[in-house]
């Protein structure tokens, strides 16, 4: 259990950062991360067992990668449900307005793409779309963010 605990503590920065990029509130982000880990402990006992099973066919690194993906998926899923209730309650401090003007899916894609080492195929799984759809979302998210920052993108995608 020590391996899992240290993994969860080390990856808190990624989990929290991702949740914050979705909800723009630190307390809500923290709670979503804890909820996602709680769901993981309830639903994926098999991964926890594999992590501590020396005879497991999967390497420890691969199991941890799967755990990481599962938790990020849960953060996205719970965050999506929570933002509906919190839309009016969250008080943004005005920073990163260009980023928060985009919708949640675009924010998630942009954050995972540029701030984490998550592979393209994994991002697709986390936000539950196929890779072709993801390409479209990423492209339009980048364009939106650039436009929200006040740049003219008319001639950049010639």
């Amino acid at each position: 259990m020590k391996i899992l605990e240290s993994f969860l503590l080390d990856n808190n920065k990624i989990f929290f950062g991702f949740a914050y990029s979705l909800l723009s509130d630190d307390l809500q982000a923290q709670q979503v991360v804890i909820d996602a880990i709680y769901v993981f402990t309830l639903k994926r006992q098999d991964l926890i067992d594999q992590l501590h099973d020396d005879k497991s066919s999967l390497k420890q690194v691969d199991v941890l990668a799967q755990i990481n993906k599962f938790i990020l998926t849960q953060i996205f899923s719970i965050g999506q449900k929570r933002i509906i209730h919190l839309k009016n309650a969250i008080d943004s401090d005005g920073s990163f307005l260009a980023f928060y003007e985009m919708n949640m899916v675009k924010r998630a894609v942009i954050y995972l793409k540029y701030k984490t080492q998550t592979a393209f195929s994994e991002i697709a799984e986390i936000i539950d779309v196929n890779e072709f759809e993801l390409m479209g979302i990423l492209s339009s998210a980048q364009k939106n963010l650039i436009e929200n920052l006040g740049y003219d993108t008319k001639h950049l995608f010639v």
Binding site: L4, L8, N12, D26, A29, I110, L145, D152, H155
Partner: protein, 142 residues
């Protein structure tokens, strides 16, 4: 009596519109002439943003490298897009939880995992018990 102001005639308005349309748009503080109005537009530039967004795959970069040496249009677009990529990264929030939050997170995680561990022991007990029963029957058969 109609008094026509010098700047308000339709002709002047149309001329102003044209001037506005032809005005060079600014991208990252540099004047950027409309690429479509230039003599030479390179179709390879369409792939540039995908190339920049890709995870610096050597093969795709190698493919474009030769082209960059020859095509000034793509070079200019490429460097503009690189700057924009930096802007994008700069404008993504990357917030760290503070010390209090980290402590409470650590406490919650350790409590949660302690529960999982105790649940795991309970889950394993029947399995061990079944193993013993099976081994007992197997000895009876022999």
């Amino acid at each position: 009596m109609n008094i026509e102001m010098p700047g308000s005639s339709p002709k002047v308005a149309i001329a102003k519109d044209k001037e506005n349309n032809n005005r060079k748009t600014e991208v990252l503080g540099q004047t950027d002439p409309d690429p479509l109005s230039q003599d030479r537009v390179c179709l390879h530039s369409r792939k540039l943003f995908s190339l920049i967004s890709s995870n610096d795959e050597v093969s795709s970069f190698e493919y474009m490298r030769r082209h960059f040496q020859e095509c000034s249009f793509c070079q200019n677009q490429y460097y503009k897009l690189l700057k924009l990529k930096t802007e994008i990264i700069k404008n993504i929030p990357d917030v760290m939880p503070d010390k209090t939050m980290q402590d409470s997170y650590a406490m919650e995680i350790s409590e949660m995992l302690a529960k999982v561990e105790s649940r795991g022991h309970f889950a394993k007990k029947p399995e061990m018990f079944l193993d013993k029963i099976f081994s007992f029957f197997s000895t009876l058969n022999h």
